[in-house]
Subunit: 382 residues, 2 copies
């Protein structure tokens, strides 16, 4: 169903399944992160990967349309096309296949940054550099991907290799060391704000120490950045030595974030709207028109929960096929199916909003009167 920005539609009149974004919650989440970073004295570089929209990026950057991180070349191109002038492609640069597109971004975006964790990646950058020696072009602006406990990608800041990499970037004429980038992915294992703060303190300490050691060696490293939505949502009172935060998911939050202690349920800004389409009283089941194409099968490993229902804690999404969801009782008691007539709208809080957003080609933005006031169209692909 097409909804223009001018035509105002009641959310309940939208076709289902569809993804709903509550604009007032998004605005609160974005403003709270801007305020938190200001209070901590760190630059916010919001990550776009969760929503991938221009509208969301404007809110996350407080209208500056600058200083963002992205996860794909397609996103970088999308935001460059929309005038964003400071973009970190926060992905280990690799591969001959994408380097031409990355080079084009380097040339056309005022402040475009790439990320490396290995000297071989520098060779790739050098092979694709204009002749900096003749001042014909700017050097590559490079972040070092630093691994401080998550063990996905990145250099270990306690290894000599990390210092060698930084020194090489610093010395080469075609590269400039812009900063350090730490993804605190292990903060997703936390279960409370206190646990998150403990993780952030450790990450900030190790990252800042690495930056200080680089400084002692005469290597300038302007940006010392850490991020993840849990760590940037529940940081300690101070983060000495850290200059930048780069969270992403907080624009929407989700149940996974809530369960880490990053947010309250009331901070979750997205829903999948679905309708009841069948009653199966013999099995104490409802069927809804939301399958894995609308909400994904991502779920909490401990509880196997895919989702929760607004205003209906007695309901549980038990399983999904491609286009159908099977709903039962969350406590095994019989459901009074009269409470869920056919066509009744149900609003589902997702486990992982990044996964859900990736399944929808349009997000329906809803105001506090449940009126759909806009549609956001995300960038897709790689």
């Amino acid at each position: 169903m097409a909804v223009s920005k001018r035509k105002r539609v009641d959310v309940r009149d939208l076709d289902s399944p569809c993804m709903i974004v509550y604009e007032s919650i998004v605005r609160q989440n974005c403003q709270a992160m801007l305020d938190r970073c200001k209070a901590l004295g760190v630059q916010l570089r919001p990550h776009m990967k969760t929503h991938k929209t221009v509208e969301g990026a404007r809110l996350m950057t407080g209208g500056s349309c600058s200083c963002i991180a992205v996860s794909t070349v397609a996103e970088a191109e999308f935001y460059a096309d929309h005038g964003f002038d400071d973009i970190l492609y926060a992905y280990p640069i690799a591969g001959e296949k994408k380097i031409e597109r990355v080079l084009a971004l380097h040339q056309r975006v005022d402040n475009f940054h790439v990320m490396v964790d290995h000297c071989d990646q520098l060779a790739l950058l050098l092979q694709n550099s204009e002749p900096v020696t003749k001042n014909l072009a700017k050097p590559w602006s490079v972040f070092i991907d630093v691994d401080v406990g998550y063990n996905r990608t990145g250099v270990n800041p306690f290894y000599d290799y990390a210092f060698g990499l930084a020194e090489t970037i610093d010395k080469l004429r075609s590269t400039h060391l812009a900063g350090l980038y730490v993804h605190c992915g292990h903060s997703y294992h936390c279960k409370s704000p206190e646990e998150i703060r403990t993780v952030v303190k450790e990450v900030a300490r190790d990252t800042a120490q690495f930056a200080a050691q680089l400084s002692e060696r005469g290597i300038a490293c302007p940006v010392v950045g850490i991020g993840s939505t849990p760590s940037c949502s529940q940081p300690p009172d101070t983060v000495p030595g850290i200059t930048e935060f780069h969270p992403g998911n907080y624009i929407f939050y989700d149940l996974q974030q809530h369960w880490t202690g990053a947010c309250e349920v009331s901070d979750i800004a997205v829903r999948v709207m679905t309708r009841v389409i069948g009653h199966y009283p013999d099995r104490n089941r409802l069927v809804i028109d939301c399958g894995f194409t609308a909400i994904s099968k991502q779920h909490d490993a401990d509880t196997s929960l895919y989702a929760k229902f607004d205003d209906h804690s007695e309901l549980k999404l038990l399983s999904m096929s491609q286009e159908l969801g099977i709903v039962g009782s969350s406590d095994d008691r019989p459901l009074n199916l009269d409470n869920y007539p056919i066509d009744k709208r149900l609003f589902i809080l997702p486990y992982h909003s990044c996964a859900v957003a990736g399944l929808h080609s349009v997000y329906h933005v809803v105001d506090e009167t449940d009126t759909c006031t806009a549609t956001w169209k995300p960038c897709r692909g790689w």
Copy 2:
């Protein structure tokens, strides 16, 4: 990367991650199902939900471009737009929201069928019928969704309610009973062709018995259809009383199907192509550019396997974040990372091809010389 039908590109030159379809395997899978149905004397009504493309539909229907099943109204509209003249919207009809679009399909497609499992759905159809009594329009062609062991949707054929529903459809002037539709979803729990055949025999027996009982009551029920890819791939030698098969996934197959006993690994026609982008020898890990946005997190419940790698049984996809896959050893032995240089292409066999296909806006079709000869663009949305 745009690939026109005329420009021939080596698959290894495609950007990654991307979805690859091996055309010769697709053709074999499609022809084998056509041959199997012919030998059994049943009509094949292939389900489009897995691929949602015109090209795939042509191959599945043996070029007839008729007699298909779909899972969304968007698919029905897509195939109607492309001239398909016999379409079963194989989804429990419900809800006032979609009925206008369904009515438009009923009016413009020669043989458009809807599916019901409750009398309330008939009321919805009647409220949205043209005046059949004056011969101004055709009646709704209705399949009954019958539940024979899967327990998702459908009427129980052993309950009086099922007969009442069939009688009502038969008697009403605005509806015509086209047939029975059974989804053998429980065949996905099988572990061998023998187990599948046992399930199919039971489903076929109960479904045919219900059809025979309807016939005894004077209710004509032309089509008696059962389906699911396992059951239609490994049927018994005869299926007495069954007139139609409606499998879908077999066009591509996947590891899930292989593990049920439905197919060989060599029958799996899709891959996600990815590249090695990082080496982490300390942890005995590779990182690839395939995260959950490219292959989904769907996995086998027993083994937790997301995927397998062509030609590299020693590799295991351990975990994924949004755009990265973490690969380790399948047997905990050290990997020789020299065998997987940066930029090396790896081809991943997915657990569930329906979920993977839903994540890609284009499928790259590859011939036996590993040349990309076409791109297929699927229908999306609901």
